[in-house]
C-alpha cells in the first residue's frame, strides 16, 4: 500500500505542472480578458452617458433662456407694430381730411366758376336779346305802343329766361 516510488512522484508533479500551465493559458487568461474588456466597455458607456446627459442639460438651459428672450422679443414687436399701426391710421386720417377739404374747396371754386360762366352767358344772351329787340324795334320803327309792347315782350322773354 505504501508504495512510495520516486518516479511516480516526479510524474505526478510533471502532470500537475502541465495541467496548471494549460488551465492558466486557456481558461484563466481568456476569462480575465473578457471580464476586463466588458468592465471597460461598461465604464466607457457610463462615461458617455453622463457626458451626454450633461450636454443635454446645458442645451436645455440654453433653449429655455432663448425661449424667454423670444417671448420678450415677441411682446416688443407687437408693441412696436401696434404703435406704428396707430400712427399710420392717424396719418391716413389726417391726409383724408385734408384731401376732403381740398376737394370741397375745389368743388366750391368750380361751382363759382360755373356760376360766373352761366351769368356771363346769361348776360351775353341778354345783350343779344337786347340787340335783337333793338334791331326789331329799329326795324319796326313804331311808336310808344310798340315800345311798350317791346318792353313787355322783352320782360316776358327775360322772365321766361329767368324761369
Amino acid at each position: 500500500m505504501l508504495n512510495i516510488n520516486f518516479w511516480n512522484i516526479a510524474f505526478t508533479v510533471i502532470n500537475l505542472l502541465v495541467l496548471y500551465f494549460f488551465m492558466r493559458h486557456f481558461l484563466v487568461k481568456p476569462m480575465q480578458a473578457i471580464l476586463e474588456e466588458r468592465k471597460q466597455m461598461v465604464e466607457r458607456d457610463l462615461d458617455d452617458a453622463t457626458r451626454s446627459k450633461q450636454e443635454a442639460e446645458k442645451m436645455k438651459r440654453e433653449y429655455e433662456a432663448s425661449i424667454q428672450n423670444a417671448d420678450a422679443e415677441a411682446d416688443r414687436i407687437v408693441e412696436t407694430a401696434k404703435a406704428r399701426g396707430t400712427e399710420e391710421y392717424n396719418r391716413i386720417l389726417a391726409q383724408a381730411k385734408t384731401d376732403a377739404t381740398k376737394k370741397m374747396e375745389e368743388a366750391d371754386r368750380t361751382i363759382a366758376l360755373e356760376r360766373e360762366k352761366t351769368l356771363s352767358d346769361l348776360r351775353a344772351s341778354v345783350a343779344d336779346l337786347a340787340m335783337v329787340a333793338t334791331a326789331k324795334l329799329l326795324a319796326e320803327q313804331s311808336g310808344p305802343q310798340n315800345d311798350r309792347n317791346c318792353y313787355d315782350a322783352f320782360l316776358s322773354q327775360s322772365g321766361e329766361k329767368h324761369d
Binding site: M1, L2, N3, I4, N5, W7, N8, I9, F11, T12, V13, N15, L16, V18, L19, Y20, F22, M23, R24, F26, L27, V28, P30, M31, I34, L35, E37, R38, M41
Partner: protein
C-alpha cells in the same frame, strides 16, 4: 473472512499500469494513468467551454461559465487579499483536480488520490508554493528572519511547522480517501446490492468536494500568512 481481506488488499494496493522500459524498467502506477485521464477530461472541457467567447450577446453557456469563474475568483480573492491574485490559477487547478480525482470513483476508475504518491506530490507542491510566495514577498533575508517571529524562542517550532504542514495536508487527504475506500469495500463485501449506492454518493461527492475545498483553503491560508 479471507475474501474480505483479499478484496480489501486489492483495493488498497496500487497496481502497476505499465512499465517504461528505460533505466531498468520504471513502473508507472495506475494513479498516473488515471491522472492522465483526468487531465484529458479537464483539457477537453476547457477547450469546449472557452471556444467562442464574446463580449456582448453572450449565450447561456458563457454566462454559466462566467458566473462560476467569477464566484471562484472572488472567493479566493477574499481569502488571499489583493496581492495574492498571482497564485489563484494554481489554486483553481488544484481544486478542480482534487475534486474530479475524488469523484472519478463514480465513473469506475480507481481514484489517484488513494495513492500516497499523489498526495505527497500535491502537498510538496503546495508547500513549495507557500515558501516561494513568502520569498517573493519578503526577499530571502526577510523570509529567514520571519522564522523568528513573533518571539525568537519559537523559531524551532516554526521550522518544524515547515515540515508538519505538508505532512498534515497529505495525510488528511490520503486518510479521508483511504477510509472511504475501506468502508466501501466492507459494504460491497457484505451487502453487494443497493446499499453501496448512497454511501458511494456520500463518500465520493460530498466528502471528496469537502476535502478538496479544505486542502485549497488551508494552502491559501498559509499563503496569506506568508504574504501578510
Amino acid at each position: 473472512m479471507d475474501g474480505l481481506v483479499d478484496s480489501l488488499m486489492e483495493e488498497l494496493n496500487c497496481q502497476v499500469a505499465f512499465t517504461i522500459p528505460i533505466f531498468g524498467g520504471i513502473d508507472v502506477l495506475e494513479s498516473v494513468a488515471v491522472t492522465w485521464i483526468i487531465m484529458g477530461i479537464m483539457m477537453v472541457a476547457t477547450l469546449i467551454l472557452v471556444h467562442g467567447l464574446k463580449v456582448r450577446k453572450i449565450g447561456t453557456k458563457q454566462a454559466v461559465l462566467e458566473s462560476g469563474f467569477t464566484f471562484i475568483w472572488n472567493f479566493f480573492e477574499e481569502l488571499l487579499g489583493k496581492e495574492g491574485t498571482d497564485y489563484i490559477p494554481y489554486l483553481i487547478t488544484v481544486v478542480l483536480y482534487i475534486g474530479i480525482a475524488n469523484m472519478i470513483g463514480l465513473l469506475g476508475f480507481k481514484s489517484p488520490t488513494k495513492d500516497l504518491n499523489v498526495t505527497i506530490s500535491l502537498a510538496v507542491m503546495s508547500i513549495i508554493l507557500v515558501e516561494v510566495a513568502g520569498i517573493r514577498k519578503k526577499g530571502v533575508k526577510g523570509w529567514i528572519k520571519s522564522f523568528a517571529e513573533p518571539i525568537p524562542i519559537i523559531a524551532p517550532i516554526n521550522v518544524l511547522e515547515l515540515f508538519i504542514r505538508p505532512l498534515s495536508l497529505c495525510m488528511r487527504l490520503f486518510g479521508n480517501v483511504l477510509g472511504a475506500v475501506v468502508v466501501m469495500a466492507l459494504i460491497k463485501y457484505l451487502v453487494p446490492l443497493v446499499a453501496p449506492l448512497p454511501f458511494s454518493f456520500y463518500f465520493d461527492i460530498f466528502d471528496g468536494v469537502i476535502q478538496a475545498y479544505v486542502f485549497v483553503f488551508l494552502t491559501s491560508l498559509y499563503i496569506k500568512e506568508a504574504i501578510e
